[in-house]
Point group: C4
Chain length 236, copies 4
């Protein structure tokens, strides 16, 4: 049965997500990941009273083609996990189907971000994964940043490409071929962080490669760094 | 007959265009498309009571050599489509003749932008078109960004080069050889958007090319992406 | 004997250092040396009433994983020179052990900075020192910027790598392999300055090398520039 | 006879120059030409009652090693054309001798700027002039941007290198080998403009050269562009 409005028991959670998603959009121009109206952040709102498989969950996302100057909580739109508009005055981002597909197929994911950040997009244009030659890459990505398939907008092929590439991968980022990065996280903030770090490692490894070959990091060190960062870093 | 002042029936439209053009100039330094006083944005003011071929239309543009800090609606100048000053205290931009030629010869164009943005200018210095290897390029440009001829300022050769290159092209941007990009649009905002995206794709494809060959996008996919973006993206 | 709280006679000095260290963190994003929560600045607080070898000194540093928007003097944490928390509500930066090791083993050092700045990190990824081909490098670094060993977080191997590389070197900066730069100084501000200049010379020499070989500077000129800069530059 | 204080008849002109020079320093970080305290702007104050050869003129410049946050008109210092301090609480910039030498030997110069801007410095590190392959280069520089000799700070060798390179050249910019650009102009603002454009053309031509050879511009076109820009551009 289609969801036609935000259920009362999710009202507070949806409003909180609108605020959070609107605020997090400011991080994309701040870290120079987007130009003009490109890029989008979404967050899942879990319906704990809904179906056990999460199919009643909602997502909050930016409307299509809206300036970063005009992003407010009220401007955000709400969709179901088929990408249909549930609440909002404007059309959802044209990438909504991809976000929705990820939420519908990766229950642990709570946030998705898409940008066309320059260096990550350049690796994507060559269809080349970013090798793991920096300790900060081992920390956050646990290995290379993988490349996803070429997929055209308009059906669920982008969403499928993301899910197939990231399922079972340590990396929260995928470089969709000829397109750009999508990142995932436990919530929208974690996905934004992955987008910021994805561009930073794409740039630093690109620059390193311009004048020679970066030195590899032994797999055991990659594993140790990843394990520590996931379990110890930050505030507990 | 020369236009010597803004006709009364165009006063409100001219004033609105001055405000809009002044505001849009702020986008050029914001997206790092210009340094110092370089670059300019113009918009056509259509005289629907004038000649059917649009020869009575006016254009609003930035004065020559003025700092981006000093751009206000009142500082903007008004010219006819031969590039003659109709209203304003200062000399019009030295690129006015090129803008005017475009409006006079491409009736569908409502906005023109010129910058020396770094990466687009670098492609122009080599006289090399930007290949269409990114989905965002297919969306906005519908193919490669073409190169226009070398043309020297002082007669209508720049304007002719723009018109000859862009007539019949999907691309709203042309890289004038050894010079820099000019972009067009249905209004000034659309031309500014094209200038922002032109630099972004010039940079991303440059970066991709530094470490190898970007993968091509099949023509049928370029066509599909372009068709969708022109018809579906954004708010209707 | 473990230090369990800030001694009364160091209270004013610790509070002053918290203010200074908090303010100096703003320089890292300002000069684009860090993204997200990466990077950290610390300063030593000397206990002139403590042991003559400085083992009773304290250090002030940023907490782990905290946004640059949330850095205030009160948020800073205090540790002893074994890296144990002495004062503060949050976990210290995960790089604290490296900072503490430097203070414990280099008594002249009063400030330490760590970043993942892009170009310095790229040289570190290749394990390649930055050659001294700019007069500003001779001024500040007195020669090449050296590379330190690969070292994994979790024991004192990063600290040891920094100390072994910088002891007896003119350079206040070391590029830790596959990781990024650490810089030292007489106080935190001097270490921040070294971090800013390290990235600038890493970038300028990288750019120079992209199109050919930079010209060497004769050793006698490097020596003369370094001597003058260390003794004459700035306000006395 | 040494000048020991600002003559009464130059007080107003010196104060106006302090204000102007302080304000213009803000353009250096704005256009990303400097990091930390590097870079300096000066302006000549002509003593029309003094010696006909200009030897009684003064110059206003930034003090040495001062943060861009602390630059105010009152912080500026005044020197004579031998580089001796005439007025001010702080040591003048360590580049003052070079500025003073230029004013003493090029009477038409009213402003001098020095930066370590990244791309211009990279060309300087290779000792390679920037070829004139952009119309904006022809406009402002009238040909290539030339390279000056290697010169060490501490005597007048930097000043001599600037004067010998720029005397009789159209270019207001010289790339001092292994060091960075110096620019001159009729006043300090014109020299700042030349510094901004020098970095922009250094960057754009660098980027162009990374993927091939820029197309040359015929000498007759360079000459025509230069003549027009010097005589027609801007407000009269």
């Amino acid at each position: 049965m289609a969801i036609t409005e935000v259920p009362t028991h999710l009202r507070a959670a949806v409003d909180a997500a609108k605020k959070k998603v609107a605020d997090l959009h400011a991080e994309l121009p701040r870290w120079e990941l987007v130009v003009w109206t490109a890029g989008n952040v979404s967050e899942r709102v879990r319906d704990t009273q809904g179906a056990a498989d999460g199919t009643d969950d909602l997502l909050v996302i930016k409307p299509s083609g809206v300036s970063y100057d005009d992003i407010t909580p009220d401007a955000m739109v709400v969709c179901d996990l088929q990408g249909n508009l549930v609440e909002g005055d404007r059309s959802p981002s044209s990438d909504t189907a991809a976000h929705a597909y990820v939420y519908a197929n990766m229950p642990e994911v709570g946030g998705v971000v898409h940008t066309h950040s320059t260096y990550a997009t350049a690796w994507a244009a060559r269809g080349e994964e970013i090798p793991c030659v920096l300790t900060m890459m081992a920390d956050e990505f646990g290995g290379p940043v993988p490349v996803g398939p070429f997929a055209i907008i308009g059906d669920d092929s982008i969403g499928r490409g993301i899910v197939e590439t990231l399922s079972g991968s340590r990396s929260p980022a995928v470089l969709m071929r000829n397109h750009g990065p999508f990142t995932i996280g436990g919530d929208a903030k974690a996905a934004v962080k992955a987008a910021v770090l994805c561009e930073e490692v794409a740039r630093a490894v690109h620059v390193a490669r311009q004048l020679g070959d970066p030195l590899p990091i032994a797999q055991e060190h990659v594993d140790a760094l990843y394990a520590r960062y996931q379990n110890v870093y930050g505030q507990r």
